[in-house]
C-alpha cells in the first residue's frame, strides 16, 4: 500500500532523471515522469525499495505541459 499521499507541488523536477521526485525514507527518491502524469498515473515509485507514494495532481494541468525549466542558477562555487 501507498507510503504517503504527496501533492505535486511538494515534488521537485529532477532534470537528470527527467522525473518529478520526492524523498523516500530509504534515502533514494520516489519518481514519476511527465509522460506518466499525462497518462493519469498517480503512483511514484522508488527504484531502491518496495515503497511508493500516491501523487495528488490534476491530470488536465499536465496535458500540454513541457518539462519544467532547470533551476536558473547552477551550484555556486562560493
Amino acid at each position: 500500500m501507498s507510503y504517503d499521499d504527496v501533492e505535486i507541488e511538494d515534488m521537485e523536477w529532477n532534470e537528470e532523471l527527467k522525473a518529478y521526485t520526492y524523498p523516500c525514507p530509504c534515502g533514494d527518491l520516489f519518481q514519476i515522469t511527465l509522460a506518466d502524469l499525462k497518462m493519469g498515473e498517480e503512483i511514484a515509485r522508488c527504484p531502491s525499495c518496495s515503497l511508493y507514494i500516491t501523487v495528488i495532481y490534476n491530470m488536465e494541468d499536465f496535458q500540454d505541459a513541457a518539462p519544467p525549466a532547470p533551476p536558473s542558477i547552477p551550484i555556486a562555487a562560493s
Binding site: E9, E12, P23, P25, G27, P71, I75, A76, A77
Partner: protein, 421 residues
C-alpha cells in the same frame, strides 16, 4: 584499547549498517549492510557529534575537525564537487575553524564553529541554507544573518533548518526553508509579510524568529522530515510542523500536554520519541496506509477537540503515550531514523525496531520489527547511536563496561520479560 593501522591508539569503535548505496555507511563501499560493520574511526580525536541525513552523514571531532561522507548530489558534503564519497573525508574549507557541532538534513548540512557562526551547504531549493536565495552550494557558506549573533545549536529537517541563538535575554529559535507543513513555526500573518523574505512557494529564504518561543529558555532544537521540536531548560517539549495524525499540520509550536520533563527528543518522518529524565520513552506516530513502518502507530499526537473548524491553538492538545515495550527499562539514549528507531539501555545494550527493508535495524535481515530487538554488538562504555533515512551509526568507547550494575541487570531482565510476555 588497541592500535589501528596508522599507529594511533584506538579509543573508539564505530559501527554502521543499513542503506549504503550512496556511500553513507562510510565503509568504503557503496552497498547496503544488514549487520553492523566495524569502521576505523576516521580521526584520532574523539567524536563529539555525528548526524545522519537523507543519505549522507556529518561528524565533528574534539579537535574541531569536521568530516562528511555519502551522497553529494547537491553538494551536501561541502567538498567543492558533487562526487559521492564512501569514506569520511575532512571538510577542507572548514579546517581553519574549530567546529563544535553539526546537523544533516535530507540533502543539506550545517556546521557551527567555536565562535558560534553558522555555515550551511548542499541543497538550497527551499531556502533551507538561509542565504536569502534558493541556490545550492557545494562548499560551506556562512549564514550572514547570524554574523552578529551567537548560534549554539542547529537542526536540519527534510527541507528546513532551525537555529538556536544565545542572547542576553535567553535563547531564540530561528527557522528557514520550506514552510508548507508549518515546520517553521511562524504565524501566517508574520510569514506572509514581504519583508520577511517570503519568496512564494512557501519558502523562507532568510532566518525568521519563531516568536512564540521567546522567553521559554529553549536549550535544544530538533528537526526531521517536516517535523520540528524544541526542549526547554526544565524539559518542557514543544512540537510543530506536519501533524502526526496525517491531516492537521501544527503551524505554531505546541506544548506537549503531558506533565513530564524530557531530556532527549528524537524525530522520524512520521514518529516522535521523547525520553524522560528517569529513562522512560514516550512516543507518538502516524500510521500510514501501508501500516506502521516505524512500529510506533500509537494513537495520540494532536487531538482535535472541535471538528470542522479552523483550529485554534487552545483547542489542540498534544499527548505522548508511554511506549509500553520499553516500560521499566532504564533507557539512556534515543534516536530515530525516517522510519526506524533505536535506544541504548543503561547496561550498554542497543535495541532497534521499525522499518527494516535496507537492513537499518542491523539484525541481519530486511524484516520490519514492531518491537525493540537487541543488536549483536559489544556492550561498551559511552555508546551513542545516530539514525538517518534507512541507515544507522553506533559510536562507543573501546573500553568494556566493567561491571553491570545490579540495577541495570534487573532492568534488562525485566525488559526481556516484557518482550516475551
Amino acid at each position: 584499547m588497541e592500535e589501528n593501522s596508522s599507529g594511533k591508539i584506538k579509543r573508539e569503535e564505530w559501527w554502521s549498517w543499513g542503506a549504503g548505496t550512496h556511500g553513507q555507511l562510510g565503509t568504503g563501499a557503496f552497498h547496503d549492510e544488514l549487520t553492523p560493520q566495524s569502521l576505523h574511526p576516521p580521526s584520532g580525536s574523539r567524536l563529539v557529534h555525528l548526524a545522519c541525513g537523507g543519505s549522507h552523514a556529518v561528524a565533528v571531532f574534539g579537535n574541531g575537525e569536521a568530516m562528511t561522507w555519502g551522497n553529494n548530489s547537491s553538494g551536501q558534503l561541502g567538498h567543492g564537487d558533487l562526487q559521492n564519497r564512501c569514506e569520511p573525508r575532512l571538510v577542507r574549507e572548514l579546517q581553519w575553524l574549530k567546529i563544535k557541532t553539526a546537523a544533516a538534513g535530507w540533502s543539506h548540512s550545517a556546521f557551527i564553529s567555536d565562535d558560534q557562526k553558522l555555515f550551511t551547504f548542499g541543497s538550497g531549493g527551499y531556502g533551507q541554507l538561509g542565504h536569502g536565495d534558493l541556490d545550492s552550494c557545494n562548499i560551506p557558506r556562512q549564514v550572514i544573518c547570524f554574523t552578529s549573533m551567537k548560534v549554539c545549536h542547529v537542526a536540519c529537517g527534510m527541507r528546513h533548518t532551525l537555529a538556536l541563538v544565545e542572547s542576553e535575554e535567553g535563547t531564540e529559535v530561528y527557522a528557514f526553508g520550506a514552510s508548507r507543513k508549518g515546520q517553521l513555526g511562524i504565524e501566517l500573518s508574520e510569514r506572509e509579510r514581504p519583508d520577511k523574505g517570503f519568496l512564494g512557494n512557501n519558502c523562507n529564504v532568510y532566518p525568521s524568529l519563531v516568536g512564540s518561543l521567546i522567553g521559554y529558555n529553549i536549550v535544544s532544537i530538533h528537526a526531521n522530515g517536516d517535523h520540528s521540536a524544541a526542549l526547554t531548560d526544565y524539559g518542557g517539549l514543544y512540537v510543530w510542523g506536519r501533524g502526526f495524525d496525517s491531516t492537521n499540520n501544527i503551524t505554531l509550536p505546541l506544548r506537549v500536554s503531558n506533565q513530564l520533563n524530557f531530556s532527549q527528543v528524537a524525530l522520524g518522518w512520521n514518529h516522535l520519541m521523547a525520553l524522560t529524565y528517569d529513562g522512560q520513552v514516550y512516543a507518538t506516530g502516524r500510521s500510514q496506509k501501508s501500516g506502521a513502518l516505524n512500529g510506533l502507530a500509537i494513537s495520540g499526537g494532536v487531538c482535535v477537540e472541535k471538528s470542522g473548524q479552523r483550529l485554534q491553538k487552545s483547542q489542540l492538545s498534544f499527548l505522548l503515550h508511554l511506549y509500553e515495550p520499553l516500560k521499566g527499562c532504564n533507557v539512556r539514549w534515543i534516536a530515530a531514523g525516517a522510519e526506524h528507531s533505536a535506544v541504548i539501555l543503561g547496561d550498554g545494550s542497543v535495541l532497534t525496531w521499525g522499518w527494516g527493508e535496507h537492513g537499518q535495524l542491523g539484525l541481519g535481515t530486511t524484516t520490519d520489527q514492531s518491537h525493540p530487538m537487541v543488536l549483536d554488538v559489544p556492550r561498551r562504555k559511552d555508546p551513542r547511536i545516530y539514525c538517518g533515512s534507512g541507515f544507522s551509526f553506533l559510536c562507543q568507547s573501546c573500553e568494556n563496561l566493567c561491571e553491570f550494575s545490579l540495577e541495570g541487570k534487573i532492568r534488562k531482565d525485566s525488559f526481556e520479560t516484557n518482550l516475551s510476555s
